[in-house]
Symmetry: C2
Subunit: 340 residues, 2 copies
Amino acid sequence: MSNSRMTVREIARLAGVSVATVSRVSNGTGQVSEEMRRRVLEAIEKHGYRPDHLGRALAAGRHGALGLVFPGLSGPYFTELIQGFESEAGPSRASVHILCTHLRSDSDAQVLEMGRRVDGVAVIGGTVSDDALLRLAEKVPVVVIAGQGPGDIASVRPENPASMAALTRHLLADHGLRDLVFVGNPQGSPDVSERWAGFRQAHRDLGVTPPAEPVAVGLQQADGVLVAQRLLGGTDPWPGGVVCANDETALGVLVGALGRGLRVPQDLVITGFDDVPTAALVTPALTTVRQPVRELAAEAARLLLAAAGRPGDTPHGSLVLPTELVLRSSCGCPAPSAGS
Amino acid sequence: MSNSRMTVREIARLAGVSVATVSRVSNGTGQVSEEMRRRVLEAIEKHGYRPDHLGRALAAGRHGALGLVFPGLSGPYFTELIQGFESEAGPSRASVHILCTHLRSDSDAQVLEMGRRVDGVAVIGGTVSDDALLRLAEKVPVVVIAGQGPGDIASVRPENPASMAALTRHLLADHGLRDLVFVGNPQGSPDVSERWAGFRQAHRDLGVTPPAEPVAVGLQQADGVLVAQRLLGGTDPWPGGVVCANDETALGVLVGALGRGLRVPQDLVITGFDDVPTAALVTPALTTVRQPVRELAAEAARLLLAAAGRPGDTPHGSLVLPTELVLRSSCGCPAPSAGS
DNA sequence: ATCGTCGCTGTAACCGGTTTCTGTTAACCG
DNA sequence: CGGTTAACAGAAACCGGTTACAGCGACGAT
């Protein structure tokens, strides 16, 4: 039945036809008479033949695979990204290779190596050096997700500065808050950098002096908990509000604040960015900015698949997907609320 | 310099040697004179030649890749798994293919398809049907992570029943709690099934009647928040304690309880399983069971890499990695605490 | 009757490597 | 000096597919 040692030539012998005919039948290309097709399909069925992926890839000069490079952090953001990417690659029969550059120094070399095994690579912004990105783009189509590459490398990212500015303006103007802090490391990722810029811009627009420095920490829930300890545990006065670079840290700050007996938003206002599922469910519900994470990754995969058809033709331009301000109660708005 | 159209034959021509010699030099196999080696290395260096992965894989009959199949849920558990797997595969120059079976009906076919593109597959328990697993194992080495496959398919899993029983006994005997509820769906994953069994066993050991049914929900933080709503929002009496199948749901329950103004552990005891980074940082710190997630995945990758050498030789036996009870304050223990 | 065309099939080259096997050369030994 | 052997290089086969090209019979047109 399912002998794995079956090859085109073996099937050709068994069906009494040539390898070319077997290949034509199994691919649906070229002209094959009904009689031949029947004989070949019968042999294929009977012996459970499936064309070998490597042979096919070698002949076609295509790998049938896409790569996804990410920093290796935990959390729902990355799993969401992976799934969005995969949901687009799967239907095109492209397998997905992943690479975590987490803390490793040889990540540039690894990314280049990956470039030789796939038909296109999506890289999360801030993951690899610009130099490596350019070298990679010489070999294979590249798209940067949530960031901007050097040169004319394509990118897909969410709208960050304007929506973060809108959120910040809401806190400053509508709720009359001052002494806001920004939690996130602008050096760590382009997303955070743009959000920090939007945060400061909103201050300047309203004639308020923004803080000189962000609270530069990572993007995971544990980082948020640590920030809560630092901000609320000491003798310093509490900030008027904590604007977090993403929902995960916001949830960390929230759980830290609640664990200390603080009331949110009465004692402290907290906002996030992403709109992860948990954000709508916690008490108080988290005010945040909705970001189309899955679509971001799916769009990147789509660009790569399109570019893989025409080799050497790396996609151009940058795509900015819209975001949406989601006002809930953690900023002081009444419980059920509408958008901006 | 780095002409990507370089092939063995081209390098052979340029260096004035045969393709066999080029292959020998680039692989370090066989005997090559110093003079030849120098000439070949010079040509390789000068023209930036790197052997093509497909050609090499085809000739070697090996893909140089491992597959990882997971359900496609969010959260730190899976990113941790991916990284553990990758950290072991990377040094062996094996790339990592991933597949999310999330909600898709054709996942069995996809898993089989993946089996034809890699040298070994690690499958998270409960992700694909036993039938598909057996068919897959005929083609390629398979290891089940956190679960047990049918037949003699190898598995790597954490010790679940005993440690969950120890945790439950601690709550029942040391803290004198009753009316515990178990949060998690035993049907959904083998891990949860074993933990539910340990939970019930501890009750029977102490002559306490366990609850007939678990609170069957998913494993994500949002599910925990929903449980908190259901358990604490109605008019029913609160349970004496909430034993969660993993930390994520426990953190969800915790944030739900704190958001309602409950005090933990005074008003409600909550425990988790996994010991994610956040567990130690929240207030109150979460009592849980430490599970070596990275090691689980790394061990699976190791087994697959070893088996990939000898084809058709799927690894056997099951490996159970030890877990550790971590008592913190969410169960009522004093703040800093030692192990079981 | 001859030529051209169309439809179908098979042979062989090719994708880019690895490896077997043969052959040459030189060193070593009796 | 003849013979054995070790070291090394290259030609060719092979991995498992795809496809350019050639060949062949049937048919219609001139």
